[in-house]
């Protein structure tokens, strides 16, 4: 199975440079099954994903809105010890980021103490002045987080970015596992893989735990922009798994600062909204007045503590890519500890010295807009044309606050079923963290997370919107 595997110069998650497996029991089980058999199972898998309608929408795609979720059967394995390290690092990081958001909208100690330039916050497109002075139930702002991790060629795990608004992908983690168990039982058998199946239960717990005070039997709903959203499958899947209502903006109404759903038997009060629409579309009275997917009056209900919004509006300020550069300081400031997981070295272009360095070394750096997601707007220096670099340089000069730069990192690879055999493909990892309160016991880290894989040879773009696929992630016990 892996005898011809071309181990790449970067870090490979399964095979060492000496061609030895890091996880012999898993390799053996796969080898016993054999390449041809796995190809067969891959066909069954694709058919099943199609029949179940496990899809994502690609904007502007020509053949219909939905694409079947590309899934590769060879799992990505994470060892027990290593996972313990990641788990601790994520807990520390998310705990600190939640305190940071709370501080930013209230006392602003971290700004007063000069740890982060005040201007950095004031100019963040994701800072919501409407949230100043607010403290959500149990002090939780970042209920659900997806943090992107990568492994560099030095073998270290780095945090690439935090997603503190509406991180997507957890439904695919659960579906991938379901499909794997069904299609590759022989490989599962005998391994001790940490389970992910209880995630919907944990998510529901988190939502209900953060309901407004004094509500005995809180009602939670999931708010989606609708079937044309790229993550609609996930919204619908999570609502179904949790047994809560999937609602769209027009299904909700705010009356006397309380939120209700419109049902066939009249209005029903809602206490918690897991909202999967952006801040600025939430409430036409507060934000964009042209939003038809939002709910008029929702922000007032939220500010008065009559409804919980998860994640709370305003959390995006902590995943602004320029503020990301300060996360190590943020962790030290709020926890007194050194960060367990490292940041990728980041140059903030609004800082004149760092900007100068970036402009000088553009061809060796990756430049990212501070407020974009989905891989949009990224310029890869080493692969960009002269013209692209010039344009990029001009953009940075025109609006330095909007750009950061990082060295080009080598993502690690995982053996992947490719048309010509098993080949290395680059991956990243998005674990999900739930926060239902400020005690250690109120936090849950999904073991593993979503492994995204760049299916195109040598590509490091793993976003599904740009041709990426996914793998099941096995955390061994």
């Amino acid at each position: 199975m892996f005898s011809d595997y071309p181990v790449p110069p970067c870090f490979d998650e399964l095979l060492t440079k000496a061609h030895e497996s890091r996880f012999p029991t898993v390799s053996l089980a796969l080898t016993n099954l054999g390449y041809d058999e796995i190809i067969e199972r891959q066909l069954v898998t694709d058919e099943r994903l199609r029949d179940l309608g496990i899809t994502f929408a690609v904007y502007g795609h020509q053949d219909g809105n939905e694409k079947v979720w590309p899934f590769d059967l060879l799992p990505r394995v994470v060892g027990h010890e290593e996972w313990q390290h990641i788990d601790r690092g994520l807990r520390q990081r998310i705990f600190a980021l939640n305190l940071f958001v709370d501080d930013i909208y209230n006392e602003q100690k971290i700004l007063n103490d000069g740890i982060i330039p005040r201007e950095m916050i004031q100019t963040a497109a994701t800072f919501r002045k409407e949230c100043v002075g607010h403290r959500p139930p149990k002090g939780v702002w970042t209920h659900i987080t997806g943090t992107d991790l990568i492994r560099h060629e030095d073998g270290e795990i780095y945090v690439l970015e935090d997603n503190l608004r509406c991180p997507s992908g957890v439904s695919y983690v659960l579906e991938n596992r379901e499909v794997m168990k069904r299609v590759l039982p022989e490989v599962f058998n005998g391994q001790s893989v940490a389970s992910v199946e209880d995630y919907p239960e944990r998510l529901l717990d988190t939502l209900l735990a953060t309901a407004p005070d004094g509500v005995d039997m809180p009602v939670a709903v999931l708010l989606t922009p609708g079937i044309f959203n790229s993550a609609y499958f996930e919204h619908s899947f999570l609502a179904q798994q949790m047994g809560i209502e999937l609602v769209q903006g027009p299904d909700l109404v705010v009356i006397d600062t309380y939120v209700y759903t419109k049902t066939i038997r009249g209005l029903r009060k809602v206490d918690v909204i897991y909202r999967r629409i952006d801040d600025t579309f939430l409430d036409p009275l507060t934000f964009r007045d042209d939003s038809v997917i939002g709910v008029a009056g929702l922000m007032e209900a939220h500010r008065l503590g009559h409804v919980t919004l998860a994640n709370a509006p305003g959390t995006g300020v902590a995943d602004d890519k320029a503020i990301y550069a300060y996360v190590p300081e943020i962790i030290k400031y709020y926890t007194g500890e050194d960060p367990i997981l490292q940041n990728v070295p980041t140059y903030v272009c609004s800082d004149p010295k760092q900007r100068e360095h970036v402009l000088k070394n553009l061809e060796s750096l990756v430049v990212k807009p501070t407020n974009e997601a989905g891989g949009y707007g990224i310029v890869l220096g080493p692969r960009a044309s002269k013209k692209e670099l010039e344009e990029c340089r001009a953009q940075i000069k025109a609006d330095p606050r909007n750009y950061i730069a990082q060295p080009m990192l080598q993502l690690s690879t995982v053996p992947t079923m490719c048309p010509d055999g098993v080949e290395p493909r680059h991956v990243d990892l998005r674990p999900f963290v739930l926060l239902g309160g400020l005690d250690a016991a109120d936090m849950y880290v999904l073991p593993g997370g979503l492994t995204r894989v760049a299916l195109v040879k040598n590509s490091m773009i793993v976003n599904s919107s740009q041709g990426g696929g996914s793998k099941d992630t096995w955390v061994l016990g």
């Binding site: 309608g53 079937i227 619908s236 179904q240 769209q248 027009p250 066939i264 038997r265």
Partner: protein, 329 residues
């Protein structure tokens, strides 16, 4: 349950039922065509009249009522909003909107059905011999109803789904009856007279009613066929059965006890049902079957509007599903 969800489930079920009935129309006609020596073109025209989409057909195919044109128009032609494939597109889109309210077996059954129909070869062969396609449609439709019966709690979603199905079914059964009665037997004097048993048998077949009719009434007599398809309380495709059970579904949704009406839809449906409880087949035939069916379909249309208003009664926004709420007229 959300008002929007109720509306989507209602329409999802109607569209599946509609696809199923279109398959049944073609099926019976196929059998009639094979059984007769007449020219094929005269045999396929009534089918288009049955569905009420004659104008659209003429627009697309002129007056060429050949088997190939008619079958294509009714099965895989997306330009016909009531073709099987269009019904499935609409059913699946509705299902996708409310997927979290369905059980996985129901969603999967609908999605697979949709994929099968979309992958079905669109060629002359299919239209010359559509039997395999029609069997798929009938089987898959039954599978969905079975999945709802067995895996969906018999609560709000189930009852709305049932309501949608039964209303659509009542409408389609009445249309089949009407067309066969009025178009295949152009003169009123023919009724009860020299009727072609094969035609009536085919009509019963198209509603999968032949065996049950035989067990109930034995020999085929036109009046008994009418009695069976209109007034039978136990045959699931008979109008009366549809109304009785639609009434139960509607009352489940409102929680209103018998003899009490909580909305105009219940009152309307109650009136239709009661009328059928006491009318005799002689009353129907003597006053004109066509007139009876015509009036029945008008009332069904009113009922559809009233149900829509009952589900949305407490909301003020316009329905986002308005565009699909058109009835086949």
């Amino acid at each position: 349950m959300l008002s929007r969800v109720a509306d989507s489930i209602f329409w999802m079920s109607r569209y599946i039922e509609r696809a199923d009935n279109v398959a049944r129309f073609i099926d019976v006609n196929q059998k009639l065509t094979l059984g007769f020596q007449r020219s094929i073109s005269t045999q396929w025209e009534p089918l288009i009249l049955t569905t009420g989409d004659n104008d659209r057909f003429k627009e697309l195919y002129g007056k060429k009522y050949t088997q190939e044109n008619v079958v294509q128009f009714l099965t895989l032609d997306s330009r016909n909003p009531n073709s099987i494939i269009s019904c499935l597109d609409a059913a699946r889109e509705n299902a996708r909107c409310i997927r979290d309210n369905l059980s996985i077996p129901i969603w999967q059954a609908i999605n697979k059905f949709y994929l099968m129909i979309h992958a079905y070869p669109r060629d002359a062969c299919t239209y010359a011999n559509p039997q395999k396609l029609l069997d798929i449609v009938k089987d898959r439709s039954q599978l969905i109803e079975g999945a709802a019966e067995l895996t969906l709690s018999h609560g709000e979603a189930y009852n709305i789904s049932r309501l949608g199905r039964l209303i659509e079914r009542a409408d389609k059964t009445s249309r089949i009856l009407d067309v066969k009665y009025y178009i295949l037997l152009p003169r009123v004097q023919d009724v009860g007279g020299n009727l072609d048993i094969v035609q009536w048998a085919a009509l019963l077949n198209s509603t999968s009613a032949l065996q049950m009719y035989r067990r109930t009434h034995g020999r085929i007599e036109p009046k008994k066929v009418v009695a069976f398809l209109v007034l039978d309380r136990f045959f699931p495709r008979a109008l009366h059965y549809c109304l009785v059970n639609a009434d139960m579904a509607l009352r489940f949704l409102s929680g209103a006890p018998p003899y009490v009406f909580s909305n105009p839809a219940e009152q309307l449906l109650g009136r239709m049902k009661t009328n059928m409880d006491y009318i005799s087949v002689d009353d129907i035939v003597n006053n004109g079957l066509h007139e009876y069916i015509d009036s029945f379909q008008c009332q069904l249309n009113e009922l559809g509007v009233a149900i829509h208003q009952a589900f949305y009664g407490n909301t003020t926004r316009p329905s986002m599903h308005q565009s699909q709420s058109q009835y086949v007229v």
